[in-house]
Each structure stands twice: as C-alpha cells, then as structure tokens.
Assembly symmetry: C2
Homo-oligomer: 222 residues x 2
C-alpha cells in the first residue's frame, strides 16, 4: 500500500533518521509527531482567520459527526502546545463589554507541518467505539425486548443526526467555498443512513428468530 516509497528512497546517508523512532527524539530531527487532535486544531486555523479558543471549540463541534469533540480545556492546552512549537501565535484582543480574548493564527511553520500531514501521513483505519453494537454482540445476556428498544432508540438518534446533516448540507452546498465540507456532509449522510438501515435490519433479525432461543445460554447449563 504505497504510502510514500520515493520519499524514503530520497533518504541517503541515513545517519539518524531514527525511523519509526519510539518517541522522544531530543535531536528534534523528525518532527515531533503530534496527535491527530493537534492537526484538527491546526486544520481549523488553516483557513487563515484568527480564532479564540472559545470559537475554536465551537468549530470543533462541527466535526463531531466524524471526529469526536475535544473538551474546551483540551483545546486550550493544545493551543499552548502548538504555540510553544511555533505553529501558531496569539494576540490579545481587548473588548469593551465582553471578556478579553486571545485570538490565534496559524504561522507559516504551522501551515507547513499541516500540509505535510495532509499529504504524507499514512491512511489510518477508522477508530470507532460502537457501544450499541458491542451490546448487540453480547445479546445473549440482554433482555430481548430491551435490546430491541436500544436498537430502535439508536435508529431514532441516528435519524436526527441525518436531519442535522441534511440541513447543514443544504446550507453549504451552494457555495463553492465549502466544497470539501459539503463532500464530507454527503459522506456523513450516507454513513448515518447505513447505520439506520443496519439498526433496523438487526431488529428484523431479532424478530425473525424463532422463540425459545432467546439468550440466557448458560444460565443453568453452567
């Protein structure tokens, strides 16, 4: 899966390169490798405008459909880290009838590492924690009716998400400015529609199942 074979080939006298370095290479050769959250923050600043931590948090919430939303304290911590690395700068903005704020802007170095990440970082699989499916997997110890209820609830929740996304999609799909977000919104709609179908299909399968076989495998056979 050719991640970047020629990039590697370009490396000649591999004095250190510490390739696949465990972590902590004080020599500072290979770019510190940040967690994805840092790149999410950097990405939100990559549009070029100045944002406060507070605004950033709200923007980050827009990613919630495909990326989790970090806590605000995490955002602030991230900003301080990025600043120490020289990837963002801030300036204080005095306000009259509002608390003062600190707005951040991405630096050239920041734009640089972000671009590098965008173009060079390997394709990772999704990391998901699907607690509903987890429960379904262990269905043998659940009350069958409750399990159906859980699935129906989930389908319901998902429907709301679809509506939200549909709304967002309608808003932004006109303007070319939001081309990529619009593509993402379409992805999201397809994603959650599939989730809805899957949940409903699972309920069907539970219903189809002949009675008398429902759960409690080893309640008395143990």
């Amino acid at each position: 899966m050719g991640t970047s074979s020629f990039t590697c080939a370009a490396i000649r006298d591999g004095s250190m390169i510490s390739f696949n370095s465990p972590r902590r290479n004080e020599s500072g050769s290979d770019r510190e490798r940040l967690p994805n959250t840092s790149y999410a923050v950097l990405g939100m600043l990559s549009f070029g405008d100045e944002l406060s931590g507070y605004q950033l948090k709200k923007r980050a919430d827009n990613l919630r459909f495909f990326y989790w939303s970090p806590a605000h304290s995490q955002i602030y911590a991230e900003l301080r880290r990025l600043e120490k690395l020289g990837y963002v700068t801030h300036r204080e903005v005095r306000q009259v009838r509002r608390p003062d704020k600190r707005v951040y802007r991405i630096t050239d170095a920041g734009q640089d590492v972000f671009e590098t990440w965008m173009n060079e970082s390997p394709v990772e699989p999704v990391s998901l924690k699907h607690s509903v499916v987890l429960r379904l997997f262990f269905g043998h110890v659940a009350d069958p009716d409750r399990l159906r209820e859980v699935l129906a609830d989930y389908a319901e929740q998902v429907s709301e998400v679809i509506e939200d996304l549909q709304g967002i999609s309608d808003e932004i799909s006109e303007s070319d400015q939001f081309f990529y977000p619009a593509v993402v919104a379409e992805w999201g709609i397809g994603y959650y529609e599939a989730e809805r179908r899957a949940a409903l299909r699972a309920i069907e399968r539970l219903d189809e199942r002949p009675e008398g076989l429902t759960g409690e495998d080893d309640a008395d056979t143990a």
Copy 2:
C-alpha cells in the same frame, strides 16, 4: 445542569467537605461506573468459559471492526481491577511445556453488573475518529491527487475488511450459537460497504469539480 445546589446551601463554615464530590463516592452507593472497556472484557467472559489474559486479548481483537482493541497490558490491568471488585476470579493453571497461565472466570456478581449494564445503560452515540474524513474536510490544503490517492487507498483497505467480515460471517452464520455475532457481522458488512461507497463517491465529486478551483485558497492571498 443542577449538580447539587442544596448540597452547597448546606455548607456554612465550609472548612473542607470537598462539596459535590467530583467522583469517587466511597459510600459505594452508585456502583462505581466502569469504562466500557471493562464491560467488553466482562462480556467476553460472560459466555462462561475460563480465559487467560492472552486469550482474552485475541478475542478482543475480534471486536476490532466495531470496537477498538485495547493493548494487552490494558487487558491485564482491567482483569486485576475487575478481580478487586469481585467481578472475576482467577486460578493458576500449571502447564508442562508452556508458561503457566492464569485463567479468569466471571463471578455471579460480575454477571450481575454486566446484565445491568446491558439492560440499563443509556444508548450512547458512536464515538468515531475518522482521520480520512478529517483530511477530506481540510481538502483545501491538500494536493488534490494525493487526496484522491488517500481515498482510493482507504476504499481498498475497506474492501479487505469486508472480505474478512464476509469470511467470518460465512463461518458462523450456520450455527445458532453465534446468532448475535452473526447479526453484528451483517451490520459490519453493511457499514463498511457504505464506507466504500462513500469514499468512491467522494473521489467522483473531486473529479467532477471544475479545474482551477482546487485547493490552495490562501496560498497567495495571504
């Protein structure tokens, strides 16, 4: 978000009291609330058989399609915790030409909390970190060809997952013993097929886009 307003009101000379206890209620009233990972481990033991940490880790890997796989060290730590809580017990198994092992079994108390979790815990939304979609979202700073490549790579990876799941599904869908896992496998297939479609569709949209509008919004306008 009424945390506990009258608790506060009751405090007069607030010497300590550590009011509205952040967590850790030693009085043991409300069941400790474990992280989902604990329930995943408990769930894998809920079939009634004895398992070593090593075996457990391998079983946990089967959940990887819809739940992430914890590191082995995490499994061991989890088992020790659950044992301290009385939800599992272990016994040492001497082996001749293999390292000795420690096999764990769920207790009645453990089965109990697990059932309670299965039936009572609220329906949580999926938590996903989709780094590929994250990159797509910030497509304006990516090299358009590389972005397409990333999406194609992802679609390819997903195809392999589908094949894996198809294989598993074929194996288990015969036996009624694996009813729930089979339902989950079907869910998974639908899920990853949707992912594949979404990735392919996104490539299409990138292709459809008129030239000259690709990325680099503020490369020179800054």
